[in-house]
Symmetry: C2
Subunit: 600 residues, 2 copies
Amino acid sequence: MPQLRVAMAQIDTTVGDLDGNVAAIRAWTRRAAQEGAHLVLFPETAVTGYPVEDLALRTSFVDASKQAVKRLARELADDGHGDVTVVVGYVDRAGEDTRPATAGRPKGLPQNCAAVLHGGRVVARYAKHHLPNYGVFDEYRIFVPGDDLLVVRVKGVDVAIAICEDLWQDGGPVQMAGDAGAGLLAVINASPYERNKDDVRLELVARRAAEAGCPIAYVNAVGGQDELVFDGDSLVVAPEGTVLARGPQFREELVVVDLEVPEGVKTPGWEENIQRATISADLVPAYQPTVSPVLEPLPDVADVHAALVLGLRDYVRKNGFRSVVIAVSGGIDSALVASLACDAIGPENVVGISLPSGYSSQHSKDDAEDLANRCGFEYRQYPIAPMVDAFLQTVPLQGVAEENLQARVRGTTIMGLANQEGHLTLATSNKSELAVGYSTLYGDSVGGYAPLKDVPKTLVWDLSNWRNADAASRGEQPPIPENTITKPPSAELRPDQTDQDSLPPYEVLDAILEDYVEGDMGRADMLEAGFDPTVVDSVVTLVDRAEWKRRQFAPGPKISYKAFGRDRRLPITNRWREPAASATLTPPVEVKTDSPLGRN
Amino acid sequence: MPQLRVAMAQIDTTVGDLDGNVAAIRAWTRRAAQEGAHLVLFPETAVTGYPVEDLALRTSFVDASKQAVKRLARELADDGHGDVTVVVGYVDRAGEDTRPATAGRPKGLPQNCAAVLHGGRVVARYAKHHLPNYGVFDEYRIFVPGDDLLVVRVKGVDVAIAICEDLWQDGGPVQMAGDAGAGLLAVINASPYERNKDDVRLELVARRAAEAGCPIAYVNAVGGQDELVFDGDSLVVAPEGTVLARGPQFREELVVVDLEVPEGVKTPGWEENIQRATISADLVPAYQPTVSPVLEPLPDVADVHAALVLGLRDYVRKNGFRSVVIAVSGGIDSALVASLACDAIGPENVVGISLPSGYSSQHSKDDAEDLANRCGFEYRQYPIAPMVDAFLQTVPLQGVAEENLQARVRGTTIMGLANQEGHLTLATSNKSELAVGYSTLYGDSVGGYAPLKDVPKTLVWDLSNWRNADAASRGEQPPIPENTITKPPSAELRPDQTDQDSLPPYEVLDAILEDYVEGDMGRADMLEAGFDPTVVDSVVTLVDRAEWKRRQFAPGPKISYKAFGRDRRLPITNRWREPAASATLTPPVEVKTDSPLGRN
């Protein structure tokens, strides 16, 4: 049986940076060639970055993507790698290089494509069949689907190509690859990180390899892009389920694997919906295969931490910032954000500002300073009383309005420093707060990026504990002060305030939010799950009424099944209230863990 | 030929308020029955409001919608209107009352449906075939399409049903209605207002009526919902193109029309993809038809003004506010917003706050007060110097950071008053400013609703002039001071500042923005259109770099082909820059408030 050395380059590209991405693809191809790879796979739309969103609707952008791929093919040959076959994702246009897309859709609309490059040319291309249009995905909005399978013969092996969602849907390219007798199914992906998704992906790839009757090489992107974090975790799984290779998470890597698969024997000719191209029919002379890494994915919490660090680092870097500023209160949220920032871009690029008021406890100020000393970031203190007093002498505000004023004075101060010194402001609100609107708009919620946007409060504690324990296990000083972790959370906007004056205990709140926000469960189901009706009603009401506030909040990395932001699109003007249990309706059947439209 | 009296109820429903919407449908049906209507048409998803967005993914919500329609049918009969046939839009589930939706999609997913109610029952239902998934629409995300045509025989007339997008796409229900020999095609819509769309709709309805070979009765929703405004403008057009009836724009109305069309003759039986139901085969005894109104749509600018007033009124009302607060600067944007607010909810519910600094000119303060006197709203003045000074003594800010500070002190003041007194804050930024980022985040951009979000600066002037002239033509005092309209626009954040220090003239800026934002044109096309390359480059750069700022801005009514918000979805992290025609990319114009990238 023919041998084939396949390299999966799980790389971190930037949306819109076509020149930079092409340069990275050349550099990684060079490395793959040095390692003797015959076939190099790059992620979905690696040339343009993912997701391009409505850039796909701009003619100049799609033209530039097409041209970049042609140029890339030539440059790879110029680099001396014309004999290596490279598969790379980009944006093309339907009906220009092949026949029109499916029924009723005009020619010339954008497609999510894979190009096969060899010998200085674009040898063939494949257009994604299944366009995800759920959760964070809007691909049906911007792309038209393809309907042909592509099979390329490389060193005698028939390699079929598919793109991301093609693997998650039944039928289509996986089944076609099996029918076409492919020796390998190469799937290029930009599949965002979600907690526990690594297990789902491995199971999926194994199942599809069995269906296709050949190994699947699954290469995934790495890096942060606005609200998404791509985690890599590239895989090769044999049809009988053996994991032949598995790359690291959250960092760029070239995962090389040697395969031995049946030779392609079919003669290229007309077959419905199959395009075949022969790059090289001659087998590689027999050689000693390398042993590929089969890494274990990171355990839970550690993987969330890694996702948050990468998302933050890439947001800062790709948007041209060098440093961040954070309002550190002595509380757990700002402490975790500061610790994440130090891990992401180094403490020398982090500025922490303490903004105490008359209601701030001494332990808050001490804890904030302790945090700064442990982490090693620059720390300054500006008491807010003079500014708050100046407002109150002009505009008499009381109660919640006065509490919000304190938060907004802090927001204005931190933003002034950010503008003056050129930092990105990090917002410190967590998902539980965002859910129930427990924050002041234009106050403690200011910032251009919110690392904890999708992190519930209970997970904030878990992450802090994990980070401290991880430091201790390496003999380092734990970054987050113990008192910050153990004390009761408080906004400290009036005397002796704690979060639990206004909210249920966070374990209860987070459990309800998981069912209501992530699970889209109705009231009746939540009561069935055993929650107190009064608590459910108050939480649901708070969540429904805070939509307008969330709409003006910064982006932050998605780590859950359903994040706030583009993942969950609800009207602001919305009088829908979950029906009370007394007016019992037909009990709905809902399976929380199974999304009928699939996930990637 | 049989006669049929059709009533089109263009009503204003609220998303999620199923009880309220059902009550409104009953009341309007009563009125239609009093006017002798045989068939009453209500807009698309009138029962649930439009658009329901991800509420459609919640089982409890879809169940409630289904139950509400059944209850509505019973209640209409209880009201004594069981003999009237009512067509109303709601959300149902695929495959429960009829066979599964199209290929590859499981049963039980939500559908955008029309129910036909008669005799206390839901007689039949129709599921929308074409799901819009572009612009502001996400229907492919939340609904599965139908594939059957529904034809209902009412008083001997075969009435085919279609929903909104079904009319905009070739083929499908329009052609099927023609093939089925329908006597009338009833199309229920929730079609948002866009400038000049009324002409497009009339032309479309006429063309489709010709294709179907029967009249089309087109009923459209009215009202504001977050970023959308539905303008009514319901129509009946005969197959030869005669407009038989046309309702008003921007207000609820019952448009009644008498039709005389061929009798349905086909016997119900099995036909592929056609469901037929007979409600009443007996013709109505001959009667004298009424003359229907054929109203002219409002002229341009007047219609935009009406859209802005309705959008604002409905946002305030449907979100449970009674009053608004506006920072009135003496400038044109805040003056127009205040005037719109007075038109929408009455001057007694509007509070204008003047927040002068040392840089504020005397004419600004005078103009703001003059505006308040003309409009009759409550007016207060709070100089910001004490608060700004308190900040500057604590945190030494200069230049742009100090300019932003002034704006944020104003934002904090206005939000404090809004919180204290329970007003909705209106943001006053216009589309031109939003496009280029000429505003301070958390400063002059604060607010829960932004009436001018989709209104370019040149249109701000046009609207102000139109509103003044309209007042004068009615012998009323023009609301907006002449000096506010004629003086050069300035942010007044430093001495002698004008907008044109930082930006090209607004006529040029708005023309480029129309091509770049609404037209998605590339640089080369804009140069071809005759714009100066230097100006194009600087504007494009500013627009690209302000995406993060727009993401945190309030919703506002869409009036153009492409509004900021859900209509235009671009990444924040985005290194795409329009390719320069030559190598000479000139440095961008510096924007003095909140500099673009590298700051927040």
